[in-house]
């Protein structure tokens, strides 16, 4: 079994798909496909690309903050001049608990969307060659790093056409995004806890809350205690073992049952609220 694991690791480490152009790769643990919401690209417009991940049962990949272990998907794009790909628009994560350790990420089918800015100089009738070097870590109990170069050739047209094959997946990806403007929250360090105070309004009907910090080294990865204080909701986290200094702010994704996820931007009272004296 150990030898099999090593062989699997070596297979996964090899550059899958490097030999010839391909838009998808598949291992026993994970299928990865580079997809586009549109079958054509319009000059000067934005378009959604995505990495469609299909996890084998019990396997998962990671959110931007992977939690106690793991690594997020890393993408390195090679695009024609004038084209720009944004960072992954991370869907709200799930919590995976392995004993005392917590990880944040995805299982099942998930689409990691990336916004593409199409060059205004793209000529209708030509093809755009999109190449991405993707690196990931997929884990069950054991972890396997993977890497693939995926490519997609898309025609430029005066108008973008929706590709029906991926319509549902992109719609689901939009629904999985934290919605709306970030809630304005305040944060403070209280002994070995970090307390985040959120306006009550948006959250009052929430069935169950969980919250995930985008940045590491501030809060531990255990779920927060949730309580009402005055007209605010308090999320009380254990301070991270790796906390070194009070940051200016902490960005959170708040996951609710049967309601879309939300964002919060929590400013630390000890740093952000102290205004600098005028010169």
């Amino acid at each position: 079994m150990r030898r099999l694991t090593i062989i699997l690791c070596m297979l996964a480490m090899t550059h899958i798909g490097g030999a010839h152009a391909t838009s998808s790769v598949k291992t026993d643990e994970l299928g990865v496909e580079l997809v586009s919401q549109s079958s054509t690209l319009a000059p000067g417009a934005t378009a959604w690309l995505g990495l469609h991940l299909k996890h084998a049962p019990h396997w998962h990949t990671y959110w931007i903050n992977p939690g106690d272990s793991g690594l997020p998907m890393k993408l390195n794009w090679s695009l024609p001049p004038g084209f720009i790909a944004d960072d992954i628009a991370w869907p709200a994560p799930k919590r995976f608990s392995v004993g005392e350790l917590a990880n944040f990420g995805y299982d099942g089918e998930v689409l990691l969307p990336v916004m593409l800015h199409v060059s205004p100089n793209a000529k209708p009738g030509t093809f755009v060659n999109i190449v991405v070097d993707a690196r990931w870590l997929v884990c069950h109990e054991e972890c396997i790093p993977g890497r693939a170069t995926l490519t997609l050739d898309l025609p430029v047209a005066t108008q973008a056409q929706v590709d029906q094959r991926w319509r549902v997946a992109f719609a689901a990806a939009r629904g999985a995004q934290p919605q709306g403007e970030p809630l304005k929250a305040s944060a403070r360090v209280s002994g070995s806890s970090i307390e985040i105070s959120l306006p009550h309004g948006e959250l009052r009907d929430a069935a169950r809350l969980d919250a995930f910090a985008v940045q590491g080294k501030v809060i531990a990865n255990t779920p927060p205690a949730v309580t009402l204080r005055n007209s605010n909701i308090m999320l009380i986290f254990v301070k991270s073992d790796y906390f070194t200094s009070i940051p200016d702010a902490l960005d959170l994704v708040i996951v609710r049952t049967r309601a879309p996820a939300l964002r919060a931007h929590a400013v630390f009272a000890e740093s952000g609220a102290i205004s600098k004296p005028p010169h």
């Binding site: 272990s69 004993g99 054991e142 309580t227 070194t244």
Partner: protein, 204 residues
């Protein structure tokens, strides 16, 4: 309101659970003592090395991140340099029985030989007691303790969280940096970093 109260109870229960199982160690505080058996069947304690600088390295030979830092020669080189300078380097394997990285004494010796590794000792912690004592979360996960028994560094092996050997040269290697600073009497510049790697394979 009753709903929030139940939420509160549930969430607090999980926090209490977390703090009971993981006793966090703190930079600047004494590193807790422990006693483990090494790959030669000898008992090794932290306190027997009082007066010496000690490195603790959490290890799992099956973990791709451990393999990254062994196959590249990074950890073996750090071990060789550290032990040559009088530092005690204790490699600790906390994989529970039957989990990935659960090797026996012969397996540990073969691992050390295979990678030309040079730890002072390779220790077994199958019940995860010492890993929990230090809140070790990943492999690798590193700790540096000075001659007075004070914890001076805890966290990742280096500054680039990845499984790729090619990133090692670009990364800051935190343990050699901390060891050099301690040796020259300087304050340790990076005392904590987020560890990265596989999860420690704790038992039930």
């Amino acid at each position: 309101m009753r709903f929030y109260r139940s939420l509160l109870v549930a969430a607090f229960a999980s926090i209490v659970f977390a703090t009971q199982t993981f006793a966090a160690v703190t930079i600047g505080a004494p590193a807790p003592d422990f006693s483990l058996t090494d790959s030669n069947g000898r008992t090794q304690t932290l306190s027997q090395y009082k007066g010496k600088t000690i490195v603790l390295e959490w290890n799992n030979p099956g973990c791709p991140f451990v393999r990254k830092h062994y196959a590249s020669g990074n950890i073996p080189a750090q071990q060789t340099a550290a032990t040559a300078a009088g530092v005690v380097w204790l490699t600790i394997n906390s994989s529970a029985s039957g989990k990935q990285g659960d090797i026996d004494m012969a397996g540990a010796k073969a691992f050390v030989t295979q990678y030309h590794a040079a730890p002072s000792a390779y220790l077994f912690d199958r019940d995860g007691k010492v890993a929990r004592l230090y809140a070790a979360k990943t492999t690798p996960h590193m700790f540096v303790i000075d001659g007075t028994g004070t914890l001076r560094y805890m966290g990742g092996i280096d500054s680039i969280a990845s499984a790729d050997q090619e990133d090692i040269a670009k990364a800051t290697q935190y343990v050699p940096q901390a060891l050099a600073e301690l040796k020259s009497g300087k304050p340790v510049s990076v005392t904590t970093s987020q560890p990265y790697g596989c999860s420690v394979k704790y038992g039930p």
